[in-house]
């Protein structure tokens, strides 16, 4: 009898431990798969003056880009190099004329760049194509938007509730970089349409500081929060949403030191199409 109780307890314990182990999953980007992927990226931005809560937004813009990523080469260390190009761009802003909006669309449509990515999603060496000149201070940069929503995975097995932190650089131009701090948590692991999926919570923070003519600084950290739906089976992002907001101090005149502040809110959504 005693032997049976011990045996049953051991069996129960084994089953319980086995169940715990099956909740551990290893998530990583598949950098060996050499097929192109198509994505849609949307970004909406509102600049709201801090002078008065009753005044409408000072700037509202909406961007939609259809782009593709094409693997260029796969490395022995598991990383791979990818080429990104826009297939179609649609942009509207109430602070740009029709011709200026067309200019944004055209420059984004011509923007091609490459980057190196490891299986953990860490992106390095992201640079514009050889014959694409530097962007101007008012041009939009697809690279910046993608870097914000890109998750970095822990590189080890994880389970629901696990958290990890990562950081990466964001190019500010003129040789300056901002550091983006990201925090992740596994919210759920589930099966969908015969694929294993992970829903990740992602928070980020960074500071804005530019030496452009308007001299723009974030008063404190710019904060973002969102989620990523990661396809564990195929090793790729299916969907990512991020909402970022912060208060920027803008120097309007160096001679008079006239400055103001504005709240900026940006919503970015990345969705895999095929």
């Amino acid at each position: 009898m005693q032997y049976r109780v011990v045996w049953l307890s051991s069996l129960t314990l084994s089953l319980w431990l086995g169940a715990c182990d099956s909740n551990q999953v290893r998530i990583a980007f598949d950098t060996k798969n050499m097929t192109s992927q198509n994505y849609q990226l949307e970004s909406q931005m509102k600049l709201i003056l801090q002078d008065s809560v009753d005044t409408p937004a000072a700037l509202g813009s909406r961007l939609r880009v259809l782009f593709h990523t094409t693997p260029v080469v796969s490395y022995d260390d598991g990383s791979a190099r990818y080429q990104v190009g826009a297939d179609s761009v649609s942009y509207h802003s109430d602070q740009r004329s029709v011709e200026e909006c067309l200019h944004v669309e055209r420059t984004l449509a011509l923007q091609e760049f490459q980057y190196k990515m490891g299986t953990n999603g860490a992106i390095q060496d992201m640079r514009l194509g050889q014959f694409v000149p530097d962007l101007e201070n008012t041009d939009l940069d697809l690279r910046r938007l993608l870097l914000k929503v890109q998750p970095e995975l822990p590189g080890s097995s994880i389970k629901t509730g696990d958290t990890w932190e990562r950081q990466h650089a964001l190019d500010e131009g003129n040789g300056k970089q901002a550091i983006v701090y990201k925090w992740f948590q596994v919210e759920d692991v589930f099966d969908h349409d015969h694929k294993r999926m992970a829903k990740l919570r992602m928070n980020l923070k960074y500071r804005v500081s530019t030496s452009a003519d308007a001299s723009i600084q974030s008063r404190d950290f710019v904060l973002g929060s969102g989620d990523v739906l990661f396809n564990i089976t195929d090793g790729r992002i299916e969907d990512a949403n991020l909402e970022i907001s912060g208060v920027l101090d803008v120097l309007l005149s160096k001679t008079t030191s006239d400055s103001t502040s504005m709240r900026v809110r940006q919503v970015i959504r990345l969705r895999r199409l095929s």
């Binding site: 931005m45 600049l47 003056l49 005044t55 409408p56 000072a58 700037l59 813009s61 802003s93 602070q95 740009r96 011709e99 200026e100 200019h103 055209r106 420059t107 011509l110 014959f131 694409v132 000149p133 530097d134 962007l135 101007e136 201070n137 008012t138 041009d139 939009l140 940069d141 500010e172 804005v208 530019t210 452009a212 003519d213 308007a214 723009i216 710019v222 970022i244 912060g246 920027l248 803008v250 309007l252 005149s253 160096k254 001679t255 103001t260 504005m262 900026v264 940006q266």
Partner: protein
């Protein structure tokens, strides 16, 4: 006979030189003109560009000529140097000069169909040149040592835009644009013997003009656009 005609037409279609890159001492000559540009080109800070009279550069697509090195453009009244879109109904991005300590000597230049020609931190002279049919004919920033003289700036959306610092303009004509001179927040213009008139919306305008009073009148659009770009 038909084959010969076809071959001839193909040859005549583009008799010129494709300009694929700026490297070292770049010397463009009339004998090899017109030059066709099929991608954006960059002249680095250590390169130089010399352009002889009569040279024509046609930009075939929405591309930019970014020039950072020393520049000598030597057009004349009878043989100007022309930079324009290959397709006259289309635009190209424009010239972007950011030459710093490198000297810029430009005369007899004609620029057409560009979205924006930017002169940023440029020192030197722009003389007897024409800017026509552009959106922003001349956008100038941080260039107090640039002298614009005897130029014709006409039929553009914005004639001269001064983004920051002051700009010297003399003996030039800014007529028949939509806005002759647009002064951004900190921009100033030191003007002498210029002809400024017949500009459709205004001869000189700033974001703070009474006619433009509105919620965002305290801020230039460029400031807001920069915030959007850098956030």
């Amino acid at each position: 006979m038909r084959l010969l005609a076809l071959l001839l037409s193909a040859t005549v279609a583009f008799a010129g030189t494709e300009l694929t890159a700026f490297r070292g001492h770049v010397h463009l000559v009339a004998a090899k003109s017109p030059y066709l540009v099929n991608r954006s080109l960059v002249l680095s800070t250590t390169d130089t560009l010399t352009v002889e009279p009569g040279v024509e550069i046609r930009v075939n697509g929405y591309y930019k000529l970014m020039l950072r090195g020393a520049i000598n453009i030597l057009g004349t009244e009878k043989k100007p140097v022309r930079i324009l879109a290959e397709d006259s109904t289309a635009n190209w991005v424009g010239l972007h000069l950011s030459t710093g300590e490198n000297l810029v000597q430009i005369q007899g230049l004609e620029v057409r169909n560009a979205f924006r020609n930017t002169f940023s931190a440029v020192r030197g002279e722009l003389r007897k040149s024409t800017f026509e049919g552009n959106y922003y004919a001349l956008w100038v920033e941080d260039s107090p040592s640039l002298l614009i003289t005897e130029c014709s700036i006409t039929h553009n959306r914005y004639g001269i835009t001064v983004g920051s610092d002051s700009l010297q303009v003399s003996k030039s004509s800014l007529v028949s644009n939509v806005i002759g001179v647009w002064l951004e927040g900190q921009g100033k213009i030191a003007s002498s013997e210029n002809t400024l008139g017949q500009n459709t919306e205004s001869d000189i305008s700033t974001p703070n003009d009474p006619a433009r009073q509105g919620i965002a009148s305290r801020y230039s659009r460029r400031t807001l656009q920069t915030v959007e770009s850098r956030f």
